[in-house]
C-alpha cells in the first residue's frame, strides 16, 4: 500500500461521512433509513479512516495535494502525514464503535418527536468536520472544518431542545466554541503575518520574533484549550456532553476533544516549532490543575454522564501534562525525553478515546434500557445487563490506570518521563516536575475512587428503583460496539510495545526524534528509556495474572473441593452482621460514597447542604455542589457584558437619522485608520 492509497482511503472516509449526512435527509419520510443506512455508513467512514490512519503510521511518509475548492488564490490544501494519520486512526476507532452501536440506539428515537434528519445529518457533518480538521493543510480549510465540527456538534447538543437546560448548555457551548475559534483564527493570523501565506508549509517557515511567538502560543493554547475543556475554560463541557445522545457524547468526549489536542500539537509543535521553557511550565500547570480539578468534580457528581464529562476534563489534563513535559524537555535540549513525554501524551489520547468512548456507550446502554442517568437510582445492573457490565468494568479498570489495561501504560510512560527530571539543569524546573507528578499520582488514585463509586453503585448491589430493576440486555449491536472498544482496551494494555512502535512515526516526523530503544528487547518488553532504567512487560503481566488467578480458582474449587463433606457453595440471605435483611434503600449511594472526599476537598467547591424536617415527620437531605469557577471567572464576565450592554443601549434611539450618523462616523473612522 502506498501513501496515495492511504490518502484515497481518507478521502473515502470523508465522502462516506458526507453521504451518511445526505442520506439522513430521507429519514423524515422513511425513519428506518437512519438505522439501516446512515449510521452504518458512518461506521464504514470510521473503518476507512482507521485504515487510512494505520497505513499512514506504518508507511511513515507524508503526501500533499490540493482540492479545486476554496478561495481563488488559496485552494484547499490536504495533507496526510503521521500526525494526521494517528488522529485519523483515533477518530476511526471510536466512529467504528459508534457505527456498530448507533443503529440500535437511534431506533429508540424513531417513535419520538425528535427529528431524525437532524440527528443523522449533523452526526455525518460532525464526523466530516473532524476528519477534515485533521486532513487540512492550510489555515483556511482548517478553520472551515473546525467551524463545521463546532456548529454541527452544537445542533447535536441541542438535539433534545425541549428542555430549557439543554438549550442553555448548547448556547454556552456555542459561545465558548466561537470565542475559542476566534482565538485560533487570531493565532493563525499572527503566524501568517510573519509568513508568506496561509498554507501550513508557509506558516511553518515563518520567522517569528519571540514576543509574537508568545502571542501566537497563548492564543492557540487558549483557543484549543477551550475546546479541550481545560480548567478554567471547561464550564461548557460538563453541561454540553451529557445532553447529546449517548453515541454522540462518546464521539464528543472521546474524539472531538482529541481534535483540539491535534490542533494544539499541529500549531505549537509543528508550525511554531521552537519554544522557550516557560511554555512548558504554563502547559504543565494548566494540565495539572485540570487533572486534579476534573477528577474531584467528577467525584462529586451523581449524574453518570456528567461525571464522565468531568472525567474527560481530568484526562485532557493528563494529556496536557504529557505535552507540557515534552515542551519542557524539548526546550532544554533533551530531544529523546521530549519524544518520550510526547508519545505518552499521544498514547493517552488514544487510550482515552477508547475507554471514554466505551464508558459513554455503556452509559448510553443504561439510559436506553432504564431511561436513567442518576447513579442514585441504579444498582444491580451487572446481573441484568451482564455484557454491558463486563465491558463497563473493563472501561472502569482502564480509566483507573490499573495494570494490565491501557490507561496504566500511558500513565506509566508519563511517570517515566517525569522521573527523568533529574537531568534538567535548572533547580526550579527540577522541583516543578515532582510536584506535577505528585498531582498526577493523586489524580490517578482519585480516579480509581471515583470509578469504584460508579461501578459499585450502578452495577453492583441491588436496584434502587423499579425501572432499573426491569432493565434487560440490550440489542447485540450495542454490545458489539462496546465489546470492540473493550477488546482494544485490553490489547492496548497488553501489547504496548507494538502500539508505541506504531505511534513512534509521529514524534519522528514532528520532533525529529523517536523512541528507538522502546522495543529493542522484543515485543515482550517495553523499555522506553533503557532496559536499565525501566522495563514493563504487558504480555507477561496479563499471562501471570490470568494464570495464577485461574490456577488458584481451579485448584481451590476442584482439587481441594474433592471429598468435601458438605455442599461447597450455599446461597443465603446477606449476613450484614445479623441485622435485619438489608433493603435497597439501606445501601450506600453515590452521594454517600463521595462524602469523605467531599469533606476533604470541599473548599474547592461551593457546597450547599441542608437537612430539613418535613411536616409529615420525614427528613429531607438536599445537596447542591457548584463549580467555583463560575463565580470566579464566568459570572464576572457575564456581568461585565451585561452592564456594557446597558450602556450601549443608549445608542438605540429608534431614529434612522441617528443610526445613519453613527454609520457615517464609523466609516470615516475606518477610512482614517486605513490611511
Amino acid at each position: 500500500m502506498t501513501m496515495e492509497t492511504a490518502l484515497a482511503l481518507a478521502g473515502l472516509a470523508v465522502v462516506l461521512a458526507l453521504t451518511s449526512a445526505a442520506v439522513s435527509l430521507l429519514a423524515k419520510r422513511v425513519p428506518a433509513t437512519l438505522r439501516t443506512v446512515a449510521t452504518p455508513l458512518l461506521g464504514l467512514a470510521g473503518l476507512a479512516a482507521l485504515a487510512a490512519g494505520l497505513a499512514a503510521l506504518v508507511l511513515g511518509g507524508s503526501i500533499q495535494t490540493t482540492l479545486p475548492l476554496g478561495l481563488p488564490w488559496l485552494p484547499w490544501h490536504i495533507r496526510l502525514d503521521a500526525l494526521a494519520g494517528f488522529f485519523l486512526l483515533l477518530i476511526g476507532v471510536v466512529t467504528c464503535a459508534v457505527g456498530l452501536y448507533g443503529p440500535a440506539y437511534v431506533r429508540g428515537f424513531e417513535h419520538s418527536e425528535d427529528s431524525l434528519t437532524a440527528l443523522g445529518g449533523f452526526s455525518g457533518l460532525f464526523v466530516t468536520g473532524m476528519l477534515m480538521v485533521v486532513l487540512a493543510d492550510d489555515a483556511f480549510l482548517f478553520m472551515v472544518a473546525w467551524e463545521l465540527m463546532s456548529l454541527s456538534s452544537y445542533f447535536l447538543v441541542a438535539y433534545h431542545h425541549e428542555h430549557g437546560a439543554n438549550r442553555r448548555a448548547a448556547f454556552l457551548y456555542l459561545l465558548m466554541a466561537h470565542v475559542g475559534g476566534l482565538m485560533i483564527l487570531l493565532a493563525y493570523g499572527v503566524l501568517a503575518a510573519f509568513g508568506t501565506g496561509f498554507s501550513f508549509n508557509e506558516l511553518r517557515v515563518a520567522q517569528l520574533p519571540p514576543m509574537w511567538a508568545g502571542v501566537a502560543f497563548t492564543l492557540a493554547f487558549v483557543g484549543f484549550g477551550m475546546k479541550a475543556g481545560l480548567v478554567p475554560l471547561h464550564a461548557w463541557l460538563p453541561a454540553a456532553h451529557p445532553v447529546a445522545p449517548s453515541h454522540i457524547s462518546a464521539l464528543m468526549s472521546g474524539v472531538m476533544l482529541k481534535v483540539a489536542v491535534y490542533g494544539f500539537i499541529r500549531v505549537v509543535f509543528d508550525l511554531i516549532g521552537e519554544f522557550p521553557w516557560q511554555w512548558g511550565v504554563a502547559v504543565l500547570s494548566i494540565g495539572s490543575v485540570s487533572a486534579l480539578y476534573g477528577v474531584l468534580a467528577a467525584m462529586m457528581q451523581s449524574d453518570l454522564k456528567r461525571l464522565l464529562a468531568y472525567s474527560s476534563v481530568e484526562n485532557l489534563g493528563i494529556i496536557f501534562i504529557g505535552l507540557g513535559l515534552s515542551l519542557l524537555f524539548l526546550s532544554t535540549g533533551f530531544r529523546a525525553l521530549g519524544a518520550l513525554a510526547f508519545v505518552a501524551a499521544l498514547y493517552h489520547c488514544l487510550n482515552h478515546a477508547v475507554f471514554k468512548g466505551l464508558l459513554f456507550l455503556g452509559a448510553g446502554a443504561i439510559l436506553h434500557s432504564t431511561h436513567e442517568r442518576d447513579l442514585d437510582q441504579m444498582g444491580g445492573l451487572l446481573r441484568r445487563k451482564p455484557w454491558t457490565g463486563l465491558f463497563f468494568l473493563v472501561g472502569v479498570l482502564s480509566i483507573s490506570a490499573l495494570p494490565p489495561f491501557n490507561g496504566f501504560v500511558s500513565e506509566w510512560l508519563t511517570f517515566q518521563a517525569a522521573l527523568q527530571a533529574w537531568q534538567l539543569e535548572s533547580g526550579v524546573l527540577r522541583s516543578i516536575v515532582p510536584i506535577v507528578s505528585a498531582v498526577l499520582a493523586l489524580t490517578g488514585a482519585l480516579v480509581a475512587a471515583t470509578f469504584v463509586k460508579v461501578y459499585g453503585v450502578a452495577f453492583l448491589g441491588q436496584a434502587r428503583s423499579r425501572h432499573v430493576r426491569r432493565a434487560r440486555r440490550g440489542p447485540w449491536g450495542m454490545q458489539a460496539g462496546q465489546g470492540w472498544l473493550a477488546v482494544l482496551c485490553l490489547l492496548l494494555g497488553a501489547f504496548p510495545t507494538w502500539a508505541i512502535q506504531l505511534i513512534d512515526a509521529v514524534p519522528r516526523e514532528v520532533l525529529g526524534s523517536g523512541l528507538p530503544q522502546a522495543g529493542t528487547h522484543g515485543w515482550l518488553w517495553l523499555t522506553p528509556v533503557s532496559a536499565q532504567t525501566a522495563s514493563y512487560s504487558g504480555p507477561l503481566v496479563v499471562l501471570m495474572l490470568a494464570g495464577i488467578g485461574l490456577t488458584a480458582f481451579w485448584g481451590l474449587n476442584h482439587l481441594w473441593a474433592r471429598g468435601a463433606p458438605v455442599r461447597w457453595v450455599r446461597r443465603g440471605d446477606a449476613w450484614d452482621c445479623g441485622f435485619a435483611p438489608p433493603s435497597p434503600r439501606m445501601q450506600y449511594t453515590a452521594t454517600a460514597f463521595a462524602q469523605p472526599i467531599r469533606r476533604i476537598f470541599g473548599l474547592l467547591f461551593t457546597i450547599d447542604e441542608s437537612v430539613t424536617e418535613q411536616e409529615d415527620g420525614t427528613t429531607r437531605h438536599r445537596l447542591k455542589i457548584g463549580d467555583r469557577f463560575w463565580g470566579w471567572l464566568y459570572l464576572p464576565i457575564a456581568d461585565a457584558v451585561e452592564s456594557a450592554a446597558k450602556r450601549v443601549v443608549r445608542l438605540q434611539s429608534g431614529s434612522v437619522r441617528v443610526y445613519l450618523g453613527w454609520t457615517l462616523a464609523t466609516l470615516v473612522g475606518l477610512l482614517w485608520i486605513i490611511t
Partner: protein, 321 residues
C-alpha cells in the same frame, strides 16, 4: 536487563514468590504474639494464622442471594494481584526476572488493582457496611497511593531507575550514606504502610465494632475459602510492605547472585529485619489508640508531605551536588 533473565533467576523468582505466601501468616502471627506479650497476655501460638487459614479453606462458602459473579471472582483477583505485587519486591536476592517484568510503578498499580476489587466486592452484596468500608478504603487509598509513589520516586530518582533491584543495588553501592531524602521517604513510606495494611492508628485489624471498620467491613459477607483468600492477601500485603521497608532502606544482607550461601544469608537477614519491624509495629499498636476516621486524612497528608519533601530535597540538594 538480559542478565536477569536466566534460568536460575526464574527458578529463584519462583521459589521466592512462594516464600511470600508461605511466610505471610508467620509475620502476622509474630506481630500478634508480640502484641499479646506487651499487653500481658499469653496470646495465640505463633502458627495460629496458618491454622485459621486452613480452617477457613475447609469450610463451606456462604454467598448472599444478591451477590453477582464479581463477588466470587474478587477473592482470586485480589489474591493474585497482591501476590504478583509482592513477587516483584526482592526478598532474598536482587536481580530477578520479576523485577524486570514489573517495576515499582507496576507494583503500586497492582496493589491499586487489588484495592479496587476489594472495594467493589464490598459494595456487591448491597449492605450498608460494605459500602461504608469501600468508601473509606478508597478515601484512604486515594491519599496513600500518591504518598507511596512520591516516596518510591525519591528512591528511583536517586538510582535513575524504577527497577527495584537497581534501586537496591544503587543503595548498596553507595554504602551507608545518610541522605536526607531517604529519611523523608522512609517516614512517608512507614506512614503509608500503616494506613495501607489497616493497622492502628488508621484501622484496627482486630475490631469487632462495625462502625469503625474499614478493611473488615468490606469482608463481612465473605466466608470459607473466599475469606481465606482475602485474609491471606492482606497478610501478603503486610509482608510486602515490611520487606519493602526492610530491603530497600536497609538492604544489607540481601543476596546478590544465585548461590546457596547468598540465599541462606538473604533469608536470615530478611527474617531478622522483619522480626524487628514486627516488634516495632506491635509496640506502636500497643501505645497508640485508633484515630477517628476523619483524622486519617491529616495523617496521610503528613505522609504525602514527607514523601514530597524527600523528593524535593533530592532534586534540589542532592542532584548535581
Amino acid at each position: 536487563m538480559d542478565h536477569y533473565l536466566t534460568l536460575p533467576g526464574w527458578g529463584i523468582a519462583f521459589v521466592q514468590s512462594f516464600l511470600y505466601i508461605a511466610l505471610a501468616p508467620l509475620l502476622v502471627g509474630w506481630v500478634r504474639k508480640v502484641k499479646a506479650r506487651l499487653q500481658n497476655r499469653r496470646g495465640a501460638p505463633l502458627l495460629q494464622a496458618y491454622r485459621d487459614l486452613y480452617k477457613l479453606l475447609a469450610k463451606e462458602v456462604r454467598v448472599a442471594h444478591t451477590a453477582s459473579p464479581l463477588f466470587r471472582a474478587a477473592p482470586y483477583i485480589v489474591f493474585t494481584a497482591t501476590w504478583m505485587a509482592a513477587a516483584t519486591v526482592p526478598l532474598l536476592v536482587v536481580d530477578l526476572p520479576t523485577a524486570a517484568i514489573a517495576d515499582i510503578i507496576v507494583l503500586v498499580g497492582l496493589l491499586a488493582l487489588a484495592r479496587v476489587f476489594l472495594a467493589l466486592a464490598g459494595m456487591d452484596v448491597g449492605t450498608a457496611f460494605g459500602g461504608m468500608g469501600a468508601s473509606r478504603e478508597m478515601m484512604i487509598g486515594a491519599l496513600a497511593e500518591p504518598a507511596m509513589l512520591m516516596a518510591v520516586f525519591t528512591l528511583t530518582m536517586t538510582a535513575h531507575s524504577t527497577n527495584l533491584s537497581s534501586v537496591i543495588d544503587q543503595h548498596l553501592a553507595d554504602g551507608f550514606m545518610l541522605r536526607p531524602s531517604y529519611l523523608f521517604a522512609l517516614g512517608g513510606l512507614v506512614l503509608v504502610a500503616i494506613a495501607e495494611t489497616g493497622r492502628i492508628p488508621v484501622d484496627n485489624p482486630t475490631t469487632h465494632l462495625e462502625l469503625t471498620m474499614i478493611h473488615e467491613a468490606m469482608l463481612l459477607e465473605y466466608s470459607g475459602r473466599h475469606l481465606a483468600m482475602m485474609e491471606w492477601a492482606a497478610q501478603i500485603k503486610l509482608l510486602l510492605y515490611g520487606t519493602l521497608i526492610a530491603n530497600v532502606f536497609l538492604p544489607w544482607g540481601i543476596g546478590r547472585g544465585v548461590s546457596a550461601a547468598a540465599l541462606g544469608l538473604g533469608l536470615a537477614a530478611v527474617l531478622a529485619k522483619l522480626a524487628v519491624l514486627g516488634v516495632a509495629l506491635a509496640v506502636g499498636e500497643t501505645v497508640l489508640a485508633k484515630m477517628r476516621i476523619f483524622r486519617a486524612p491529616a495523617f496521610l497528608n503528613l505522609a504525602l508531605l514527607l514523601s514530597l519533601l524527600g523528593l524535593l530535597s533530592h532534586v534540589i540538594l542532592e542532584v548535581g551536588a
